[in-house]
Amino acid sequence: MKISRQEVAHVARLARLSFSEDEMELFTNQLNQILLYMEKLNEIDTQNIKPTYHALELTNVLREDKVGPSLPPERVLSNAPAENKDMFVVPRIIR
């Protein structure tokens, strides 16, 4: 086993997902299969290889500190489920 049911439950909770008992069973098995397959990578000797941080070999892609146009508020809020005075309305989290 590469990942336990508790770990799957923990990750699901961090992602704000909830699953039924059957789904938990199914995903735990599937994640295990995926992780076992990924294990194959450990067969390669990477002793003297620098870790890859990016798929491209580029560095220092930078922009100058210039202000450009932003979006008009009505477009910003056009996908908002609820809005009030140009602000997004969300359920309260704290207290």
Partner: protein
Amino acid sequence: MKYEAVIGLEVHAQLLTDSKIFCSCSTQFGAPPNSHVCPVCLGMPGVLPVLNKQVVNFAMKMALATHCRINPFSVFARKNYFYPDLPKGYQISQYEHPLAEDGWVEIEINGGKKRIGIIRIHMEEDAGKLIHDPYKPVSYVDFNRTGVPLIEIVSKPDIRSPEEAVAYLKKLRSILRYLEICDGNMEEGSFRCDANVSVRPLGSEKFGTRTELKNMNSFKHVQRALAYEIERQISVLEEGDVVVQETRLWDEAKGVTRSMRGKEEAHDYRYFPDPDLVPVEIDSEWIEEIRQTLPELPDEKKERFIKEYQLPPYDAEVLTSSKELAHYFEAVVSACHNPKMASNWVMSELLGRLNQDKRDITECPIAPEALGELIQLITKGTISGKIGKTVFEEMYETGASATEIVKKKGLVQITDEGVLREIAQKIIETHPKEAEQYKAGKEKLLGFFVGQMMKETKGKANPQLANKIFKELLKG
């Protein structure tokens, strides 16, 4: 048992760039809600953040000013958590490979110096702003602040008291302001601080369990919150209990820290390199280029003030606490050529008066040259130091020059010995009892006579001369 506090501080400083860290939206404070946002800072799918070069320059300045090592290779990472002020579900920050590591700043505490270590400085984006509805269980989100550049400065757990914590914060803030990369406004949140606090028996090497303190919006809050939390942890241990590792919020109104339950799991951030951003490589040439731009920093300026102007360390510390104040002081000195007097007048009269009005040196109604002129009138003996204070007050209120005020109000010091001697004679005649007592050996009464002289001349008599005359006349 004696306990010792162990404190580490995490400081977030907003950088004074024009545009955000990964998009070209404006960073201007106080704009209408959601008017400075775009698909990048709103975290829309398919957008590509591009790093603002000025953010790297500014962060490097702070790294050099705090003696950090700038890493030749640094990487942005995603810090994953859900909170409504974070539209992407992650914050772009740095984790494994921060911009800079292993520095220090020096603080002055109880007359001695102490170095506080810095673990790391990294670049990241700020989150949006939540406004909680006072009546309904909803919050309102303004994303203008999302993507405003921050540097996070993490100290080593070298701090041992609330006073040291405040001295360290003031030093960091002063350096940031000297560098002109952060305005350091704690109330508006451009300079923020979280603290990790634990206590342990004095002499113990092992760290105790720590709590994380948040919501301290001024130096005073930091001082009070830390003092409270240290006491709280000590009494928990004294009662045989254990300190719980948790996040606690400072409640300034009640003067207590309280537990923020249910946030424990939030510390599982699952960092990984952000595939949208390529690594940053910094060579020695770039570092040198930035080093050339560094101004004289507070510690250097302070040392120079001590040497060049022969000021006591305390005065030099106060006068260099901000670039503007230091500049003001130096302008006064070059106008009056008397550093000691300049320091006294700026430190006591001027700062005291500004403080009364809750004004900053940049809002000072007296130009440094004008204060220098006033000091010259005193050193030349045109007016007495006491009259100088009256003139100062008038200058502060009206903006008139010292010479003008002295002329208009006839405040020129009386240095004519004949005139003063005449007045002294009269005073002695009208106070025969005191004169007898003085002659009988009660020399303390000299002050009384000089005081009478000042009253008579509305403070215009030259005090040294008055002293001399009374001594002569009362010799017996």
